[in-house]
Amino acid sequence: MGHVSKRLYSSASKLAVSTSRLKQFPPKEAILVPDSGKPNFFDPELWAALQPPPTSALTAFAHRIGLANVLSSADVVRRACTHKSFLNLHAKYYPSSPTPPTNANLATLGNSLMGLFASEHLHAAYPHLPTRVLKAAVSAHVGPLTCASVAQEMGAVPLLRWHRQPTTPMSPALLHSDALASIPRAITALVYQEISLQSARKFVQSFFLSRQVDLRSMIRFRDPKRALIETVEKFGRERPKSRLLKETGRYSNSPVFVVGIFSGQDKLGEGFGSSLKMAEYRAAEDSLHRLYLTRTPDHLLQVPSSTFPFKQGNIYKTGLEVPYTPGVLGEAEILYASSGRSNIVAPKRPTLEEIEARREGLDV
């Protein structure tokens, strides 16, 4: 095997192009022909990006995720795996072929549906969770990185058709993770369209809402003691009092104190530490965690979208419904030290000057 063919084989295996379907491999344009001074520009990555994934890979993908009846043909799967950035590439190199259908509309619809299912599930499961933590939890469950990760685990990486786009003043750079994230969203929308809303919810429940998320790390306090005092007052209970429960080694180099915070006779939370202040701080955090992370048991969990009829079609028409008892509406969490600001920082996109400065910096 010549060195050109060897390099092509290794590039092909990295880029996961199935060579068994091709008429000729290596392709004609890759092989250097001693011509009359004509330069041969061949980019193997670009060539690989233009090759369509084989039909067998697409149908195998549909069976692997258990949706062979929804993604009934390879064309449907191909559509779900084509990102809209691929259109530029396709139009440039195959201007005469019809434009391939993309997953842009499906991804938008699927994103909204996933947001709906995740929000209602998390709100029903954790009724007392603070609003910003709930929003962060929804992002963790169905956000862009998770969607990309799920797409990878499903085996959609070799099936994705996309084209990398750099940062422009109008739009941010298109990353591989963003292009991959469009695939599970498109699949959710397809399940909704082909079967029903309830089936789409089951799909999102099994692939997204059953994954590991650490909610505790998302709850952060500036002053947990103050937050606890105000929360207890809001619930109309006695003012919290911290009491030392256990201690050992007070004057040694490694003391341990266990402090409990009580509201009257009820212990709200417990914390340990190597100093009294540290233990009290942890006890306040623990009390607020026990409130915020209260979870509805699975057999009592009911979500509002379960009231929509099971059939395909207009969800606003009356049909067979499941009886629904609304869950607990938790008390909103207290805000302190915010001076009315929301403290949300939006990511900034680089201005024209900054982009040019970066380019000049690279040139110099």
């Binding site: 996961a16 068994s20 084989p54 067998s56 890979a57 149908t59 195998a60 069976h63 692997r64 995720i65 258990g66 062979a68 929003k135 962060a136 992002s139 963790a140 469950h141 956000g143 862009p144 990185l145 998770t146 990309a148 990760s149 990878q152 685990e153 499903m154 085996g155 990486v157 070799p158 990353l175 591989h176 993770s177 991959l180 429940q205 099994s206 692939f207 997204f208 059953s210 994954r211 590991q212 998320v213 998302m218 952060r220 306090f221 500036r222 002053d223 920082v345 990511p347």
Partner: protein, 160 residues
């Protein structure tokens, strides 16, 4: 006390393959054989008679049959493709997307042996096979400083 900002677009969840939905990691099996050499006879018989049934039973896998004259018969299994941004350290799962492939030579097997090896490829996740107790034949929480007790080497040997 200022707390560190949480950037919502960077939050993610970690895989739990099998906790509710199970996605098998095998995506493609390639069977290579030679048309002429006798070592490929059983592989060729399997491909002619049994491969279609196995493929029908496993619709989530692509089966590729490749003729390679002058080479020994092989079954090669391809497992999930990895994307560069994904971090799998936090996953507590045993099933992790590894992007590996497993190759099994088929020349010494009978036809049902070939089927068993294909089934092995279908059942695998692509992960490297690690020994459970590498080098440690007996596993104990405490090390035996004076050796392991034997009932025969005491003053009054144990009698049932």
């Amino acid at each position: 006390m200022a707390t560190k900002q949480i950037l919502r677009a960077q939050l993610r969840s970690y895989p739990a393959n099998g906790h509710s939905a199970y996605v098998p990691q095998v995506r493609k099996i390639v069977l290579e054989y030679c048309q002429n050499l006798p070592s490929s006879t059983n592989a060729r018989t399997f491909i002619l008679n049994d491969l279609q049934r196995v493929a029908w039973q496993n619709p989530h896998v692509e089966f590729v049959v490749k003729q390679r004259n002058g080479h020994e018969p092989i079954a090669r299994g391809f497992y999930g493709c990895v994307a560069s941004f994904c971090d799998t350290e936090h996953s507590s799962d045993l099933i992790v997307v590894n992007g590996r492939d497993k190759v099994i030579p088929l020349q010494e097997f009978e036809v049902n042996g070939v089927e068993k090896k294909v089934q092995l490829l279908l059942d695998s996740s692509g992960a490297k096979i690690k020994q459970l107790k590498r080098g440690r034949i007996v596993e104990s929480t405490t090390e035996a400083t004076r050796g392991i007790w034997s009932g025969l080497h005491v003053d009054t040997p144990f009698k049932i």
